[in-house]
Each structure stands twice: as C-alpha cells, then as structure tokens.
C-alpha cells in the first residue's frame, strides 16, 4: 500500500473530539432524564434499585425486566406505596459488563441507599455482585433460572433451581416420550456446565448408560450448527428414542432450530427441550420449524387464569404495546417484588436485617394459579410447567407438576454438595450446612 499523507488538521481533530464529547454528553443527559422521570415529587420515599443491562448483549433480555419493575412500582404506588411511603425506582445500566455490575451495585446500596435491588440475569453477573451485597448487607432479588449451588444470605433467588426446571423436564421426556438416549447440548459457560453435570449424574442414577449420553458445548452466539445437528441425527439412530436437553443460551437457539428444521428433524423424531427459550426469544423467530419442541419453565404467557390475564393486560397498558410478550423471569420479579413488599410490611421497616428475616415464610400469589412461598434457603416454591412451542410463538402447556416444587439449592446429585443444605433461620443461619458433619462449611456467608 502507498502511504497516505496524514490529512487530518488540528482543527479537524478538535472537531472530532468535540463530536465525541457531544455523544458522551448526550449519554449523560439521557441517564439524567431517566432517573429524573422516575422520581416522584413526594418527600419520604423508599428507593428500589434496578440493576439490569440496558445496552450491550444482554439488553435483549434484561430491558424487559427493567420495564416490568417500573410497572410493578407504579402499580404499588397507586395502591399507596409501602409503609405509607412512595417507592422510587433507581435505574442503572451495567451495560452487560460484569465488573460494572459490581460497581453499579455498590453505587445502588451505598450512594443511593436502595432498600432492595432487583437485578442481574447471567450467573456471572450475579457472582460479580455477590461480594458487594454481602459486604454492604444489601438485598438482591435474582429472577432468572440458574444452576443452583449457591445460597447467600443477601440474595433471594426467585428463579428456578435445577430441580425446579431441568429435572422435571427430563422426567417428562422419559415417562411421556420413552426417551432412552440423551443429548445434553449447551453453551460453554457456568450455567449449562453445572446443569449438565447435575443432569448427567441424575440420568446415570436412573440407569442410563454412559454411551447413551452425549454432551456437547458450543461457544456463545454459535451460528453454524451443521455438523453438530448432523451428529445429533446420527446419535439418534441407535434404535432408542432420543431427545435433546438444551441449555443453549437464548440467541444461539435460533440458528440451531433452523438447522434442525432444514435437516428434517421434527419434534416427533427428536424432541428438544430448552431451558433458555421463552416467549421473548420466540418473538424474534419464525416458529414454524420449531413446532412441538419443548420448553420447561415455571410460567408461560399462555397460562389460563384471571391473575395472569390481569397481569398481561396491565403490562400491555403500561408498555402501550398490545403485542409485548410476558415471560418467566418477569413472573419471578412479580413474585419477588410482592414478597419484598409483604416482607417490609411484616418487618415494619426497610432495614436489611429485619427484612431478610421477615421474608422467610412470606407467601404471595404466583401467576400460574397458586401461591409461592419464600423458603429458609432463600429460594421459592414453584410449579413446573412443560410447554410445546406452537405456530404463534406461544406455548401449549402439556404437563404441570401436581404441586409446588421446593428448590434444592445444593444438588443432591453432585458429590461435593449432596450433604449441604441452606437455612437462614435462627439458630442455624448458614447457607451451606453439612448435615453429615454438622458444621457450617464455607463460612457463614454461603
């Protein structure tokens, strides 16, 4: 290449700098207006932190959760707030950047003095803020299904633990579809790895041979599924009914399902049950090739009962969009927020220690027609629903557990954790109590 003489003048560079500064300033102004808009004019308020990514890769999932929190807070304020005070939302944007999550969490607790924080989606973001919440004694409500193996005093897990999602789904396939051969496919990070470790141990305990389990990991955002789908197809020709248990992260599912469809694998041949595909993800997909594939959640938008109908109507009105879908983590925030309100009213204060103690045993309606209760292990009871994907992007509920399932925060199928339990009531007050040795392992924190 020929060298190009530098053409930029000092003035030009200055202009460029000015432009950059303008962009930065615009960002700042935008941030300022959001928090101003959220602040009600009254005096005595209780601040509620919302720690969800509004930009970057996770914005796709987390923006909705910010919106649902704003709706819940607005509804609560219409009912007169909590303890006679109005609630005020403090929104921060951790921008899908894990260390930034910790920084923003610190800001929410020590600068903004939030009484509780609702936030995080990925496990790595939760792990990033965990030390902050424990150090500053904050309260975090975490709304997403996760791999378990954690029980912190300062975190309330309103999403599903593996036994509230993965294991019932596997049981359904084994009993309804007589599945004997299993493909555990996942994205390569902590949630799929831990879940698959638990599932593998569970399947083996049920007598599934090692050669009937295939485990496959792919990078984030994997889009070329050709030979993985081909090998799944091949794995399915050993004369036994085969199913795929997918912990593939949201985005990579679309090309995965498309490839399944193109290679002619139908749900009646090899069904796929997914743990990260909900209404929100399906909204961006042509669902024809997905017909009949399954998902396991604790809530579906298609749940038919009055509470859910009211919730959906309020959501459509709040977002002024009659097509916005609802999903499982939104329900988790709905439950978590109502629990927090009840806990604060029970404690009569927003002081963290009192609220943390008061929250255990609180029970509020969930949206699938029952009540969910906060257990001493800071996880909640939930029904487990299995749905088949329909042509319209909704789920057809084909199975529901008869009762509520209590979360196992420490998996009994993993050797290291099978003797552990978490119980934050006095006198135990321990997140990882070893019932064999009678000691609290891993300190009093988790």
């Amino acid at each position: 290449m020929t060298p190009v003489e530098p053409k930029v003048s000092r003035r030009g560079l200055g202009r460029l700098g000015a432009a950059a500064a303008t962009i930065a300033a615009m960002g700042a102004v935008k941030a300022a207006t959001t928090s101003a808009a959220a602040a009600p004019p009254t005096g005595g308020t209780i601040k509620v932190g919302i720690l969800h990514s509004l930009s970057g890769t996770m914005a796709i999932s987390e923006t909705t959760l910010k919106d649902v929190m704003l709706m819940l807070i607005e509804e609560q304020n219409k009912k007169g707030g909590v303890l006679g005070k109005k609630l005020e939302a403090v929104i921060v944007d951790p921008a899908s950047n894990w260390p930034l999550f910790a920084e923003k969490a610190r800001q929410l607790i020590s600068v903004d003095k939030c009484a509780a924080v609702f936030g995080c989606w990925t496990s790595v973001s939760r792990k990033s803020v965990l030390p902050v919440f424990e150090e500053l004694n904050g309260i975090l409500f975490y709304p997403v299904q996760y791999e378990g193996q954690e029980c912190s005093r300062n975190v309330f897990y309103t999403g599903a633990a593996p036994n509230q999602q993965a294991i019932p789904a596997v049981d359904y396939l084994a009993s309804e579809n007589k599945v004997k051969r299993w493909v555990l496919a996942g994205t390569d990070y902590v949630y799929p790895r831990t879940t698959n470790q638990i599932l593998e141990a569970y399947l083996k305990s049920k007598g599934v041979a090692a050669e009937d389990i295939m485990i496959n990991y792919t990078p984030f955002g994997h889009s070329d599924w050709q030979n993985i789908v081909a090998s799944i197809k091949k794995f399915g020709t050993a004369g036994k009914k085969t199913a795929v248990v997918s912990t593939i992260n949201g985005d990579a599912n679309v090309p995965f399902y498309k490839e399944l469809g193109n290679q002619g694998i139908k749900a009646t041949d090899i069904p796929v049950v997914a743990f990260s595909v909900g209404e929100e993800e399906l909204a961006g997909i042509d669902t024809k090739p997905l017909l009949g594939h399954l998902a396991a959640w604790n809530y579906f938008e298609s749940v038919d009962n009055p509470d859910n109908k009211t919730f959906i109507d309020t959501w459509h009105k709040f977002t002024k969009n009659p097509k916005r879908t609802t999903n499982d983590p939104m329900e988790a925030h709905y439950i978590g927020f109502n629990m927090w309100v009840k806990g604060v009213e029970k404690a009569g204060t927003t002081a963290p220690d009192a609220v943390i103690d008061a929250l255990i045993g609180v029970s509020v309606p969930n949206l699938s027609g029952g009540y969910s209760a906060m257990m001493p292990n800071h996880h909640i009871t939930k029904p487990v629903l299995i749905g088949e994907i329909q042509g319209d992007g909704q789920f057809n509920i084909v199975s529901q557990t008869p009762g509520l399932v209590v979360a196992q925060e420490w998996s009994p199928y993993v050797a290291d954790t099978k003797d552990l339990i978490g119980d934050w009531r006095a006198p135990m007050k321990c997140g990882a109590f070893n019932v064999k040795t009678g000691t609290c392992t891993a300190g009093k924190k988790a």
Binding site: E5, Q226, I228, A230, K240, D269
Partner: protein, 529 residues
Amino acid sequence: MIRLLTALLFVLSLSSGSARAQDADDAFQALASGSFDQVRTGVAQLVASGSPRAAPVITALQAGKLYASSDHALFIKQDDDSFVDAATGAPAPDVMASGVKPVRLNNAVRGAIDAALGALQLFAPDPAIRLQAADAVFTAHDPAALPALKKALATETDTTVKLHMQQAQAAALLVSDDASEADRLAAVGVLRARGDLDARGFLSSLSDQPPAVATAAATAITSIDRMLQLWGLAQSVYYGLSLGSVLLLAAAGLAITFGVMGVINMAHGEMVMIGAYVTFTVQQALHAYLPAFYPASLLIAVPLAFLVAGLVGVVVERSLIRWLYGRPLETLLATWGLSLVLQQAVRSIFGANNRDVDTPAWMSGATQLGGLTLTWNRMYIILFAILVLAALMAALRYTSLGLRMRAVTQNRRMAAAMGIRTPWIDALTFGLGSGVAGMAGVALSQIDNVSPNLGQSYIIDSFMVVVFGGVGNLWGTTLGALTLGIVNKFLEPVAGAVLGKIVVLVLLILFIQRRPRGMFPLKGRAAEA
C-alpha cells in the same frame, strides 16, 4: 405404535355401514374431549371408521384448524374464517370464533396424525404426496399396513415411490409376527440397500429376530456405517464450503476496506448488521404494502442493502475516516467507537430484541444427494457468495471506477497527477466495501439472528480471513475463507466447537509468524509501501 393401521385393514375390506357410523361418532367425541390421549385414539378411530370425513378432519387437525365448542361439537375453520361442521362438512354459519377453541396437539398426537395421513394417502393421485405417505408409513412401521402397502405397490407406477413403498413394506414386515425367515432376510437386504440413517436407526431397533436375521441386520448396520463414514467425509467438505462461503461473504467487503485501502475498520461488522436490518425492513414493507412481491423479498433486499450500507460507508468515510488516513491506531479506536454508536442506534430504532426475518419456502429444507444432505439455504448462500465475488472482481477489473481505485491504491500521487480525484475515489472504495458487507448481511439474516450484535460475531473472523489470505488480494481472501471453513468443520467433530475454534486460532497465529503477509502476499513495489 397405534392400532390405526389395523383399522385401515378394516377400511379396505369394508366393515358394516352402521358400525362405521358409530365408530366415527365415537372418534369425533374423542377428538373433542380435550385430553391428548383421547385425541390420539380418536385419530386412529376416525381412520378405522372409514368415514369419508377422515381425511379432511385429520388434515384440519394437523393444520390447527379443527375447533371444538364447549358442548363437544367439532368445526373446521375455513380460509375465509367461517366454520363448517366437521362431521358433515355442511356450513355452520352461527358458530362464532369466540365460542370455540382449537383442538390442541402434542408430539404424540402429531406422530399419530403423520402415520394416519400416511396410511390415508398411499393412494393419493399426486406422486409427491404418495412419497410422503410411504415415508410416514416407514416411520410408523406398523405390520397392519402390510395389506394396504401390497395393494398400493401393485398399482404403483412411479419408480421412486415404489422403492419407498418397498422399504416401508420391508420395515413393517420385520416387526410383524408371522413373516418367514426368507422374507425377513430379503427385507433386511432392502433396508441395507437404502443405506441411510433412518434405515440404520430402524435396523438397530430390531429385537426378537431369528438368529440368521439378527446377524444379517448386524452386518447391514456395519455396511451402512462404512458407507456413511465415506459420505461423512464429503459431508464435512460441504459443511466446510458452506462455512467458508459465509466467511467469504463477511470478509469480502473487508478485503476492500482493509485489504485495498488499509483502513482497520472495526465497524465493518455493523455494515453487515445494517444489511440484515435492511432485509427486515424490506420484508415488513412488502408485507404491509406489496404482499404479491413478498416471496421475492430477499432479491429486492440485496440491491437495497448494498445501497444503504454503501451510503453509510461513504458518509462514514467523508466524516470520520478521511481525517485518520495513515494513523492506524486512531482509525482502530474511532471505528470501534463508531461500531458501538451504530449498534446502539439500531437498538434504539428497532429495539433490543431479535427481529424476525422470514426464510422463503424455496430456501427451506434440504435435498438428498446420495448420502449427502444438502440444505437449500446453505446452497443458495454458497451460490450468492460466488456471485458477489465475481461481481466484485469484475467491478474492480472492468469498470472505470475499478481502474481508478486500483490506480489510487497503487500510486496515489501519480493517480492524482493524472487527474483522478483521489478523495472521492477513497470515499467510493469505502462505500463499495461497506455495500458488499451490506449484501452479506442479507445472506446472514437467513442463518443467524438479526440483532444489533450480529456484526460483532463476524468481525474477528473477517479479519482472520483477510490476514490469512493475504492483505489486498481477493483470491487470497477466497482461498483463506474456504480453508478456514473446511479446517474448522473437520476439527469440530474431533475437538468440539469451542476447542476447534481455539485450535484454528493457534494454527493461524503460527502461520502468520512464518508468513506475515498471508498466503498470497501482494508482490512488487505497491506491497513494499
């Protein structure tokens, strides 16, 4: 499996009329019951009853157009949203959409429907439907289908359909109780000749066979496996070519902006993303205003994506890049910032969610070539990549703009002295590269998510391809893309997708250490500069 094919036997041998009517009534009751198990038996019963309404009702059920009222009456929704009575086919004008609910399906019911329709359609006039039916019967392999198959085979004229029916017959025969050993051995032979994964799957599911048949089945499986292994190699090459064509499309634009102009353009991926969003917008617009042209949406999107992304490229060059020529580090930072700005802009306009870009019917599915499965969308993308590459090369070689571009990049001062307006050529070259990236976006919208992050997943790969192939050389880019694609697809089954990617990266680094200018470095004075 279901006993519906036993029932089919009844149909063919004709049972008494009144019993049939009774059966049909029972079947309709079961279909309206709302329980999956009953619906499944209802499907079987309905076929068994031999009612002439069986085919339309089951087809409607499959399409989700069968509705049940609260008092268990069944109606079929027509294309014009009116309803007809399912049992009689008479119009039912007083049925309201609000008063009926669709009959729900699950996978078990769907399987029963496939098998039922297969049995019903073995005698359909259209050979394509008969072929589907034969395959459905093969999947169900119910021995009760044997008489029907025999009858269908006797009248079948189409050789392909006949072959598939014979295979279905062989499968059903092997699981029946009363076939002779000789027949069984012959059946294993038929399936061995079929030689695909389905045949392998069926053969390995066999149990309780006479020893000679079991041995024959085992040998057949080994032979099929050996054949499949050979085909597997060819299949991997195809996968590699397909991945390579995607890489090539993504990198072709960069080969211009980075390879020819030397601009480290981190916002290249965002041009691809813009192309994908143009496709989405075109589809939405066509859907709303010109539904007749909807099937051609991708063809319309290609030139539009080129123009939009190209225009964005020209604007970017004029407003940002031209101030930074010769300063790679600043260019890198500025374009990286630009990529974030573009992503957030798209996120603000279209929302953070993925956008639904439809795949036209002619791009879905696959065709079978021997043991190869060739998916249509990938085939079209390979073809599209070849066309784009050819057009790009032709543009550089045969147009006056191409001539000027080459002149400017080879010797800027001389070109300027000859009267070429070099700044404008810079802008147009950058626009060309961006436009090609936009066209790649149209193709990628078919295989990947249309989201603001689309471009990010391709930027690293694109740079890898361009550097590996030799900067400034389109042939090098092509060969680089195909090599990386094929190596990746051969490594993936061995090492896994994650490790495979790492291995490729390490190999690439080692290669660049030995040959810093890539596979095909530019020679001559231009390269020294």
